[in-house]
């Protein structure tokens, strides 16, 4: 009986636009696993009206669909924008004119967002401006409801979609497929509310955590056994710019591409889910320090305690960790007191 009911339910209709980005969030999404993307969308009862890389229709058919959505004759449940909003030059939006329309993409985004029940910014570009806003942001790239850390963006800080929610910022560069598919699933089931988002309107389902959680280097962190070169196994916070103890995401709790994370790839977390990550103010793989102490300490830890604990734990670092921390492969296995190797 319940199975029949699910079949009868009208599909949740999704439209996807791309603008000032790299398309990497869509490509990451294609790697969705257990189950795959097609199955996930089916399970969530989502009908993709149009996605630039997946759908069959091109040209006039798509423009017609966008026009019908903007004039209200075609209902839309979810609008996804991937990539930054391109406002330049001089507010004209000419850095991205929608192909076939002579109209800036930012106008289309605004028109469709006004009609959609939910609006999702897919990736840090669409959420905050992201990489496209790096440097002096000559192209005037911004997010849907933020211009970097500043509320506003294309739609304004007060924007609420027809369902009464602000823009949902599935930030990340790129997104993990699960961050989006789970959000879509919750929306389609009618279970996504303002309680499910954090202070930057990112889904708490993944920003409840720090990248630090589940990091395979935690033992090195505990003993402040630090990596010195990109390839070393030790903790990358002290010397290599790792922001895992501040960055909000569950990257080390769910596998990327079945097996990895940035940290598992032996390179630091660059906090890509945060607004402004594209301009850290220092080299991405360097840790800025003041008198030898890293500036960016874990977000909610008193500094004096951190320093005290760090010096204590450094004094207690086992030889095994000291040696492995500065090696590119594990040299010393853990010791079993009952039996020597």
């Amino acid at each position: 009986m319940s199975a029949m009911k699910a079949e009868e339910k009208a599909p949740v209709r999704l439209f996807w636009l791309q603008s000032g980005g790299c398309g990497g969030c869509s490509l990451s999404l294609l790697g969705a696993e257990a189950p795959d993307l097609v199955t996930v969308l089916e399970a969530a009862n989502i009908e993709v009206l149009w996605h630039p890389s997946l759908s069959v229709s091109s040209g006039a058919e798509v423009i017609d669909l966008m026009e019908r959505i903007s004039d209200g004759s075609e209902p839309l449940d979810i609008l996804c924008l991937e990539g930054s909003v391109m406002r330049g030059p001089n507010g004209t939006g000419k850095f991205h004119i929608m192909a076939g329309t002579d109209r800036p993409v930012m106008d289309w985004v605004e028109a469709l967002a006004k009609k959609s029940r939910y609006v999702i910014a897919v990736g840090s570009c669409a959420a905050f401006g992201g990489i496209t806003a790096a440097g002096s942001n000559e192209v005037d790239a911004c997010g849907l409801s933020y211009d970097g850390r500043k509320p506003g963006g294309l739609l304004g800080a007060d924007f609420r979609s027809a369902a009464g929610l602000p823009v949902i910022n599935v930030a990340g560069c790129p997104i993990h497929p699960g961050w989006l598919t789970e959000t879509l699933h919750q929306i389609a089931a009618g279970r996504f509310t303002t309680r499910d988002i954090d202070e930057w309107e990112r889904p708490l389902s993944y920003t409840m955590h720090l990248v630090h959680h589940g990091c395979a280097r935690n033992e090195f962190y505990e003993f402040k056994a630090s990596a010195e070169r990109l390839c070393d196994l030790g903790c990358m916070m002290e010397n290599l710019g790792c922001k895992g103890t501040q960055a909000r995401a569950d990257c080390n709790m769910r596998a990327w591409n079945g097996a990895g994370s940035c940290l598992d790839g032996n390179y630091p977390c660059i906090n890509c889910t945060a607004p402004g990550f594209e301009e850290p103010g220092h080299g991405f793989t360097e840790t800025p320090k003041i008198s030898g102490i890293p500036v960016g300490l874990p977000t909610d830890m008193p500094k004096a305690w951190f320093v005290a604990l760090a010096s204590l734990s450094k004094a207690a670092t086992p030889k095994r960790l000291k040696e492995n921390a500065v090696a590119d492969h594990f040299r010393q296995p853990p010791v079993d007191k009952q039996k020597k190797r």
Partner: protein, 483 residues
């Protein structure tokens, strides 16, 4: 004469518009418009050189690793830094995974769905094509997506994640691999081989890679019914629709060479011009700005002297894409060019018979999947755990470097100049910049613009299906094109 504007042009990477002048049921001339400008070259200027490894891959979500490889090569050239053998193999594996996955994505998700269009409803194979290749809903996507995702575990293991990894560095890979992980790599590749042999080819990879002439390919296709594999299906459609007659190439091809070492790459560097191989001199590369929305330059510029100063109001311009030329000529890049330059006998024979076109571009891509996966199995087998995967070095305060490599869709180059320890100039020429360039100062159209001339347009067509096939046969990446 009438004008058609086709766009947004989907199932390509990024946004694209094509303007067609139509006369007597055929395209008379075409203008290819890349409508998005982001300005990566300007973002990179003034940054610390190593930060290019964070920014450059984010030019493109589908050629991300290729961008990393080109940036790392430009940096290593400036540093005078070599790479340990493990590093070469690991970087080749990472790069090959992206390129093979891109070929697969192109074939199954971008190119083949066009054969499920209504316009082919009267063809004998239509029902099968519709069941198999309809966008999103077809059985092929359902078979391919899980296989692709599982294949990408190579990148989870070797690169942390995809896209946008930082493992690829000037001196190799940050990620060393342990003995157990070498075994895992072998298992992932074996699973992927099984998918390819069962679904894409219906035959052993070695058999496909070893096909050496047009006759052998035709005989191979005849061995089993077309519905026995997706490649055979394509060969049937190609023959019945005469795809070899669509989208003729200019006959000049270029490849920067890919994988392995600079001195002995898997696929060699060079040219292939009007049926003859030739040497490539990268010094002969220039970019022409005459029809692009940038401040005018004093003639075409070599990349080291290149400038990127956007000017959206320039009247004679119609694209954000610059027009790269080699010795002033248009060249085509991509899997077809790569295999012509490297001398694969099947591809050279096919091109001798019918030239570069929609058919030969797709065959070269499908062939390359088999060739590269065989090479990947070997590289994985040659990894030596406990030996170094990376060399470290110092950046010079002043210097320059060029990074040339091959993305799935063709030749990618980065030209880097460092002054006072910062990036003084960074110029990028991407594969689709070559293929989808606008006209140059002599009014010569780019490779796609030339390939579109003469394309048939059926009565009443607003999105001519022949144009769809031709555009997608290049596997364009528009986000790379303009960057």
């Amino acid at each position: 004469m009438s004008r058609l504007i086709v766009g947004p042009f989907n199932r390509v990477e990024g946004d694209l518009e094509v303007k067609l002048d139509i006369q007597d049921g055929a395209v008379r001339q075409a203008q290819v418009v890349s409508p998005l400008y982001r300005g990566f070259e300007r973002i990179l200027t003034g940054k610390a050189p190593f930060d290019a490894l964070v920014y450059a891959p984010r030019i493109c979500g589908i050629c991300s690793v290729s961008q990393s490889v080109a940036a790392a090569k430009a940096l290593s050239a400036a540093m005078g830094l070599g790479m340990p053998a493990n590093g070469e193999r690991a970087v080749s594996l990472i790069h090959a995974t992206e390129n093979v996955a891109d070929h697969l994505t192109h074939f199954y998700l971008f190119f083949m769905p066009d054969f499920a269009r209504e316009v082919y409803a009267s063809e004998s194979w239509y029902e099968d094509a519709r069941d198999r290749f309809t966008a999103i809903k077809g059985t092929a996507a359902q078979d391919m997506l899980p296989a692709r995702a599982q294949f990408m575990h190579v990148l989870g293991l070797l690169a942390g994640k995809w896209p946008h990894t930082l493992t690829v560095q000037p001196g190799g890979s940050t990620r060393s691999v342990a003995a157990g992980e070498v075994a895992r790599l072998a298992a992932i590749l074996a699973a992927f081989r099984r998918f390819l042999e069962r679904h894409l080819y219906g035959d052993r990879l070695e058999r496909i890679a070893g096909l050496s002439s047009a006759d052998e390919l035709a005989a191979w296709a005849e061995e089993k019914p077309a519905i026995s594999s997706d490649f055979r299906r394509f060969l049937q459609y190609a023959q019945e629709l005469d795809l070899a007659a669509l989208g003729p190439s200019t006959g000049r091809y270029m490849s920067f060479g890919a994988y392995g070492t600079e001195s002995s790459p898997l696929f060699g560097r060079g040219l292939y011009v009007n049926g003859a191989p030739g040497e490539l001199d990268p010094q002969q590369i220039t970019e022409d700005l005459s029809h692009a929305w940038y401040a005018a330059s004093d003639g075409p510029l070599a990349p080291f002297e290149g400038a990127t100063q956007p000017d959206a109001e320039r009247s004679e311009a119609y694209s954000w894409c610059k027009a790269p030329r080699l010795s002033g000529d248009v060249v085509e890049v991509g899997a077809l060019a790569r295999q012509l330059v490297d001398g694969h006998p099947l591809i050279r024979d096919l091109v001798a018979a019918s030239g570069g076109n929609v058919f030969t571009r797709v065959v070269a891509r499908v062939l390359e999947i088999a060739m590269v996966v065989i090479a990947m199995e070997q590289w994985a087998n040659e990894l030596v755990p406990e030996q170094p995967f990376i060399a470290h070095g110092q950046l010079p305060e002043t210097g320059e470097g060029v990074g040339l490599t091959e993305a799935a869709r063709g030749s990618l180059g980065h030209w880097l100049r460092i002054e006072k320890g910062r990036i003084a100039n960074y110029q990028i020429i991407a594969p689709t910049t070559w293929n989808f360039s606008p006209r140059d100062e002599n009014g010569v159209p780019g490779a796609l613009e030339q390939a579109l001339a003469g394309a048939p347009v059926r009565p009443g067509e607003t999105e001519p299906v022949a144009v769809q096939h031709i555009v997608r046969s290049f596997d364009p990446c528009l986000v790379c094109t303009v960057h």
